[in-house]
Amino acid sequence: MRRLLAVTALLLAPSSAWAHAFPDHSEPRVGHTVEASPPAVRIWFDGRIEPVFSSLRVEDDGKRRVDKGDGRVNPDDGTLLEVGLPPLPPGKYRVFWSVVARDGHRTEGDFAFRVK
C-alpha cells in the first residue's frame, strides 16, 4: 500500500520536466503591452529543452522577421529560450517558438505582445 501511495504521489507531483514542454511564463508576458521596446524575448518552459531542435523568432504585424536571429537555449538555464531584439517601434508583434523536450516531445506555439 505504501509503495502504491509513493508511486501515485510521484505521478501526480508537479515536476520541473513535463513530458510535453509547455511555456511557464515569458517576457514580455503573453498578450500584454509593454511600455518600451524589450531587449529580448524570453520564454521559460516547464522542463529542460533541447538546444539543437528548439527555435524562436519574432515577427511584426506585417509578418516581417524583426529579431536579431540569435535565438538560443540559455546555457545556464536549460528551460529558458531567448532571442535578442533591436529597438522596436510601437506596434503588435508575434512570437513563434518550437521546442523539443529532453525526452523527445515536440511542442510549438505562438503568442502576441504589443509595444506602446
Partner: protein, 328 residues
C-alpha cells in the same frame, strides 16, 4: 417471475447507461492539447490507460418504480498500431443496488474499438477519425444486464480547437469542441426470454434489441492554452493545467418502444493534466426523467503510457517505436 423482473430491471439499467461507457484518448493537434474526455470518446489514438473510471448514478427501473443505483468501475487500455491507427480494450465491473430486491454485481461485456485518424489540420487545430466498436456479447454477466449477443458501433469522431479565431475574439480561442456520432447495431434483432411462473405457466417474451444512435460532444476551455498562447493572466499551478469541461453523452434508439426518445447525461466537470497522468471529475445530470432524477458522479485517473515508458508502450508492429505523442 422474480428473476425475470430482476433481469428486466438490469436490462433497462444497462440500456439507459450504455452511453456512459468511458473511452479516452489524448493528444496534440498543432499547439492544442486535447485531454482524454471521460464520458464521450475523442478523436485521437494514443498509448494510454484509464484506470479506474468510476461512475455512480441512480437510474430508473423497468417501469415499476424500482430505481437502481448503478456503480461502474472500468479500465481501458489503448494502443497505437501505427501513428494513426489505434486499438482499445474496455472492461467494466458493475454493481446494481435497486431500491427493492438484492444487489447484483458482475462484469459487463468486453468492448474492443479500432480507430483511424484520417484528417488532420494542425493550423486549424482540427482532426477527424473513424472507428468501429465491437461489444463482445456473452463475455459479461447476464445478471447485470449484459447482452448475450454482439453489438457493432461504427462511429465518426472530431476535434476542433478555436485558436484560429480572429484576435478580436481572443478570449474564445481557448475553447475546443470534440464530438462523436455512432450507430449501434445489434447482431441479433430479438432476444427471446422464457420464464416459468409459480403456477407452472410458461411465458415467452421476444424483446426487440434496438438500433441506437450514440452521440455526444464536449466543450472545453483550456486554461493552459489561455496562459500560453492568448493572455498570461497569472494563474499559478495547478490552475494553469486545468480544463473546465462540459460533456453531453446521449443515445437515441431508432426503433422499438423507445424509438426517438433520447436519454443521457450532461456532465460539467474539470480535468487536470500533468506529466504522466490526468485526473478528471464530472457531475452527471440526467437530461430527462427517462434517464433519472438524481445527480451522479464520474471520475477518472488516466495514465499517459507513451510518456511513462515510450520505448515500451509506443512500439508498433509495422512502424517500430513511435515515441511520445507528437503534435500533428
Amino acid at each position: 417471475m422474480r428473476g425475470k423482473a430482476l433481469f428486466a430491471c438490469a436490462l433497462t439499467v444497462a440500456t439507459v447507461l450504455t452511453t456512459l461507457q468511458p473511452a479516452q484518448a489524448h493528444g496534440l493537434i498543432g499547439k492544442r492539447f486535447l485531454p482524454a474526455t471521460l464520458a464521450t470518446d475523442d478523436p485521437f489514438v494514443a498509448d494510454e490507460l484509464a484506470l479506474p473510471t468510476v461512475s455512480s448514478i441512480k437510474v430508473p427501473g423497468s417501469g415499476d418504480g424500482n430505481r437502481t443505483w448503478e456503480t461502474d468501475v472500468s479500465a481501458e487500455f489503448s494502443k497505437r498500431l501505427s501513428p494513426d491507427l489505434g486499438l482499445s480494450l474496455l472492461g467494466t465491473w458493475k454493481a446494481l443496488n435497486p431500491d427493492q430486491g438484492p444487489s447484483l454485481t458482475g462484469f459487463d461485456n468486453l468492448e474492443v474499438t479500432l480507430k483511424y485518424v484520417f484528417f488532420k489540420d494542425p493550423e486549424h487545430e482540427t482532426l477527424v477519425s473513424a472507428g468501429v466498436a465491437w461489444e463482445v456479447g456473452g463475455t459479461g454477466s447476464k445478471k447485470v444486464g449484459s447482452d448475450s449477443f454482439d453489438r457493432v458501433t461504427p462511429s465518426l469522431f472530431f476535434g476542433k480547437g478555436f485558436g484560429d479565431l480572429p484576435d478580436s475574439l481572443e478570449w474564445f480561442k481557448p475553447f475546443a469542441l470534440t464530438g462523436v456520432f455512432g450507430y449501434s447495431l445489434p447482431i441479433r434483432v430479438r432476444t427471446q426470454t422464457i420464464s416459468i411462473a409459480d403456477d407452472g405457466s410458461v411465458d415467452v417474451a421476444r424483446d426487440l434489441n434496438p438500433e441506437i444512435i450514440k452521440w455526444g460532444f464536449s466543450l472545453q476551455y483550456s486554461l493552459q492554452y489561455l496562459q500560453s498562447f492568448v493572455r498570461d493572466i497569472g494563474l499559478p499551478a495547478p490552475l494553469n493545467r486545468m480544463i473546465p469541461i462540459v460533456e453531453f453523452a446521449l443515445q437515441t434508439p431508432t426503433d422499438g418502444k423507445q424509438a426517438g426518445h433520447t436519454t443521457g447525461t450532461i456532465n460539467p466537470g474539470i480535468i487536470w493534466f500533468g506529466r504522466y497522468v490526468q485526473v478528471g471529475i464530472e457531475a452527471q445530470f440526467p437530461v430527462n426523467r427517462a434517464t433519472g432524477k438524481n445527480v451522479g458522479v464520474l471520475a477518472q485517473l488516466h495514465f499517459y503510457l507513451d510518456d511513462i515508458l515510450p520505448q515500451v508502450f509506443t512500439w508498433t508492429p509495422f512502424h517500430g517505436v513511435l515515441g511520445p505523442t507528437q503534435p500533428r
